[in-house]
Symmetry: C2
Subunit: 329 residues, 2 copies
DNA sequence: TTGTAGGCGTTATCAG
DNA sequence: CTGATAACGCCTACAA
């Protein structure tokens, strides 16, 4: 690999000058046109590429943004990640993605790896499970990072302290529930979630509040998963019960798609026999024209990157959401 | 941040000894138990974290594996990426993900960024479009990397030279087509693809070959997209035509899901009115019990990592595939 | 078994 | 406008 030294030598200037040209630092440290030209040409002929490692060593941090995702396969998080990646690339950063399965130990080891690599900031996608083993250790690690000046952003409710950019989970579920209630649905079941998972529990709380306020009895089922497979299974079980609900509110779009598949497989009509609504607003939901709470997933990612790249700007307030009325309700 | 020097000082040993303990290099360079203990303790109390930047600078490459994905939202590529991430983490590498939209210019700039960061290897997920502008520049860049010893792996047919691990796209489409044909379907249409996109064109070729061999007329539609939305649109258009086929083979599972949604929306029955098959074997397909060619996506990712982490082992032969018979045919 | 010293490629500082 | 030089944190010959 050609180094800055090589370029400087070939251009007949000092490494300092070469560095200034190649970094556009020639604002404050002017460089003659002839020198600039020589450096550019030398760099081109040598195929010079700067070393991120050396710069990171010098500057104390790299242009890396770390993402710790609960599940990179879940479109909900994938859309966030995509938003992060796009914004990061625009700002000249590259995105490091880690899969952590909501396991605090995995999260911590990935977090440490990211820190070792001098990440400029680390973003958590996905909330945590109350009291899960390893939570305290992770919190300690996050705390240290914060203390040392590395921004940590959470795009979901988390039990450790960090910059948080989230939409109000309780409110989303409340709103969608009220929406179905005013459409005339009476027996609305909630499908999906994970015991202790903050975001899911908040959604259930919102659902419950809406139901109580309208004098209906809440009914939470399939509280053991957040993906298509678990949504499918939970709905199948539900359909086998003596009384089936006339509408389903699912903890997220993925569960809703699973529910939709199950209802379709059972030969029932949507929404005539059972209506379905999700929370998320992912593309998959859109193709099935799923009624859902549309969350600005990519935008959340973009905002997180903003916080890292330009910390001075302060914490942005989370963007709003809206109800997308599809033909599943 | 505590440095190796600090740890050594606190432990009362030299940096060399500290380094040896902290890297497990004390195999070839034995360290006394007391020194080892002192170093470990010092590291712990100081909260020592090694600097990936410094190591990368010293070693000439970092423990980063780059992934350039056509679309990180597409489960097909996301499953590959997940496989890569898991294998990489196991080997002590972190995964850098870049989204490139099948645009050679974007691919090139991401590729360069990855190289600047000293990636140990770079993996391409998704094939390329014949003659797309920028292809030559990207090829040149890839060539340089190869020449300088950076492994480049392609998990899809690509026009530049690189280590390639792909299943036979032509054969997969041929097989699934024959499968439907022997089930008695006569008028089978092919849905989806992108003009010039290598993987898609190969699948179409396989479909054509099977149809010709069975004396049927091929019919390719919706040749302008590979995702759920385009699959949905193409199928809607198809259903509006005077004669509708009795089966659909979709270029990938995503298109197939889109097709399924369209047929469902149209009120037709699957497979009675129209059968559907995909190619991919992603989880979403599984939930809808889609008949599909099951590709070992995660495994492909794992193999790519293998190539990078352990180049001496040589290029693995691509794993096989199988037909998954669902209830959509 | 332990330590010393040089250098990886960059950039900031300071001196022309 | 230009350049010499000193770090940044780590690894590893080489020496003891």
């Amino acid at each position: 690999m050609a180094t800055l030294r090589d370029v400087a030598r070939l251009a007949g200037v000092s490494v300092t000058t070469a560095s200034r040209v190649l970094n556009g630092t020639d604002r404050d440290h002017p460089v003659s046109d002839v020198a600039r030209a020589a450096v550019s040409e030398a760099a081109a002929t040598l195929g010079y590429r700067r070393s991120a490692a050396a710069r990171a060593l010098k500057n104390g941090h790299s242009h890396l943004i770390g993402v710790i995702s609960a599940d990179i396969l879940d479109p909900y998080f994938a859309e966030m990640t995509r938003g992060i990646e796009i914004a990061a690339a625009q700002a000249g950063y590259v995105t490091v993605v880690a899969n952590a399965n909501r396991d605090p130990f995995q999260e911590r080891s990935r977090f440490q790896a990211l820190r070792e690599h001098g990440a400029a900031g680390i973003i958590f996608c996905g909330s945590d499970i109350e009291g899960a083993p390893g939570t305290a250790e992770l919190a300690r690690e996050v705390n240290r990072a914060l203390k040392e000046g590395t921004p940590v952003i959470s795009l979901a409710p988390r039990s450790f302290a960090s910059t948080t950019i989230v939409v109000d989970n309780e409110a989303t579920a409340y709103d969608i529930t009220v929406h179905l209630l005013t459409q005339g649905h009476e027996d609305i079941a909630f499908v999906g979630g994970l015991p202790g998972l903050a975001a899911a529990e908040m959604r259930i709380a919102g659902y419950r509040r809406a139901m109580y306020e309208h004098g209906k009895l809440p009914r939470v089922t399939g509280h053991h998963g957040m993906n298509q497979v678990t949504g499918h299974a939970a709905t199948e079980a539900l359909l086998a019960e003596p009384s089936i609900p006339d509408a389903l509110i699912c903890t997220n779009d993925e569960s809703a798609i699973g529910a939709l598949a199950a209802i379709w497989h059972a030969g029932l009509r949507i929404p005539d026999d059972i209506a379905i609504a999700g929370i998320g607003g992912t593309d998959t939901g859109r193709v099935f024209d799923l009624t859902s709470i549309e969350l600005p997933l990519g935008e959340l990612g973009r905002l997180a990157v903003e916080c890292i790249v330009n910390p001075a700007a302060g914490v942005p307030s989370p963007p709003g959401y809206s109800i997308r009325e599809g033909r599943t309700t």
